[in-house]
């Protein structure tokens, strides 16, 4: 509970800073996802019930800083949580590289979920080129950010030697 609250607070703080700084250094490739590394960390190394709660909260927090249609980020973040659950049983994170790779891949999957959602809704976004253009650069930056975060978790001994199996 406390850990999820702290993660949510941390996400809120980073997202606020991210949004404000983007006003001064406005580059679209710098708009990486701050929530995905935290969500992957919560799902892989912490209790999955709280990870689910975190997925929903992170969706709401990100929607607070975006002009997206309501419900978009809660949908995508919960989808990423479900995909994480699937991967969790078959994938072992042993280094910051694997963590970064996974976060980058999840960013790409999130973009694809958004495109899928757009296709279903018909008119959510009329141009998929916009999402495709920034898919790779934003995925790479998400992976780089997740490496920093992994080191941060490691420094504060938040990553256990073995995965916590339910």
């Amino acid at each position: 509970m406390l850990e999820v609250s702290l993660s949510a607070f941390y996400l809120f703080f980073i997202t606020t800073l991210h949004s404000v700084l983007l006003k001064y250094f406005s580059f679209d490739f710098l708009k990486f996802d701050v929530a995905i590394p935290l969500l992957v960390y919560q799902t892989f190394f912490r209790r999955i019930n709280w990870a689910c709660v975190f997925a929903i909260i992170s969706g709401f927090i990100q929607e607070g800083f975006s002009t997206c249609p309501p419900g978009t980020f809660v949908f995508t973040k919960v989808s990423i949580f479900l995909l994480c659950l699937l991967v969790r049983e078959r994938f072992f994170i042993e280094s910051e590289q694997t963590f970064a790779l996974l976060c980058g891949l999840f960013y790409i999957l999130e973009s694809l979920v958004t495109i899928g959602l757009s296709l279903i809704m018909g008119g959510l976004t009329s141009s998929y080129m916009n999402i495709f253009t920034y898919l790779m650069p934003n995925g790479v930056f998400t992976a780089l950010f997740s490496m920093i975060l992994y080191r941060f978790f490691l420094r504060f001994n938040q990553i256990p030697g073995e995965k916590e199996w339910e």
Partner: protein
């Protein structure tokens, strides 16, 4: 057992968010209240964080000016050091003054009631093009109000919270503005592409649109009043298939460079 609880919770959240996306009234209403709570906090937090960063940016600008001034002073063998520093400070004030004067002039020329707002944040995703301003319902801002800057149209309010609002800029893929080609009375729709240019749609190939033509709002979409400059035509392609020309437009306003905007509160 625990994973079943998480799984069912996640599936329920997925279903509810999907129903919200499809605009089912009951869920949309509930979600709007919760969403606006988060958006309200986000807006206020952005406003708080923006203050010191804005100050730092101003100091940085002053620092850059100072370095330049220092070079000048060395060139003049440090004879007019104090004078040039004073000059720099005045320049800074003049720049600020000019910016505010332009806003004031445009504000006075508009028939609608206008409200000046600070830009405090930008959309965190590259998929959507939007900005966050520091004025909301408390100041009389509501959804669908047009937002402009001294150069031209910026966008419209898509969400108004108590102390902050979200603006969808005209570059967003969900944005469409009814426009006229100035002086030609040719009508079309300027749609956002998600990039720095707009697309002028529904202009027939036999209509005389040229590179360099300017677009103004037509006032017929019920959101934007007539006569606000939108952008300039930079490319006209009539060789594509179909009835309509493929026209690219560069908007006059660049949302990335905005410090202040004007909201037309009617």
């Amino acid at each position: 057992m625990r994973s079943y609880i998480a799984l069912s919770g996640a599936l329920l959240a997925l279903l509810i968010s999907f129903l919200v996306l499809t605009n089912v009234p009951f869920f949309s209403g509930l979600y709007r209240n919760l969403g606006s709570f988060f958006a309200e906090i986000s807006g206020r937090a952005a406003k708080m964080v923006d203050k010191p960063i804005r100050k730092m940016a101003n100091y940085y600008e002053m620092y850059v000016d100072l370095v330049e001034a220092k070079r000048e002073v060395i060139e003049l063998r440090k004879k007019v050091e104090l004078l040039s520093l004073e000059n720099q400070r005045l320049k800074e004030l003049e720049r600020e003054n000019r910016k505010l004067k332009m806003i004031l002039e445009i504000s006075e020329s508009m028939k609608e009631r206008t409200l000046v707002a600070n830009v405090v944040g930008e959309d965190i995703k590259s998929w959507y093009k939007g900005i966050i301003i520091d004025k909301g319902k408390e100041s009389g801002i509501a959804q669908k109000m047009p937002v402009i800057c001294p150069k031209g149209l910026v966008g419209q309010v898509v969400e108004a919270n108590r102390g902050s609002s979200k603006i969808m800029v005209i570059n967003d893929t969900n944005s469409a503005v009814d426009v006229y080609v100035e002086g030609k009375e040719i009508r079309g729709v300027a749609e956002g592409t998600g990039f720095s240019t707009l697309k002028l749609k529904y202009v027939k190939k036999n209509e005389d649109v040229e590179i360099g033509d300017t677009l103004i709002t037509s006032g017929k979409d019920g959101i934007f009043p007539r006569g606000i400059p939108v952008g300039i035509v930079v490319n006209v392609n009539k060789k594509t298939g179909g009835v309509f020309s493929d026209i690219a437009v560069v908007p006059f306003s660049d949302y990335r460079l905005l410090d202040y905007v004007l909201v037309l509160t009617r």
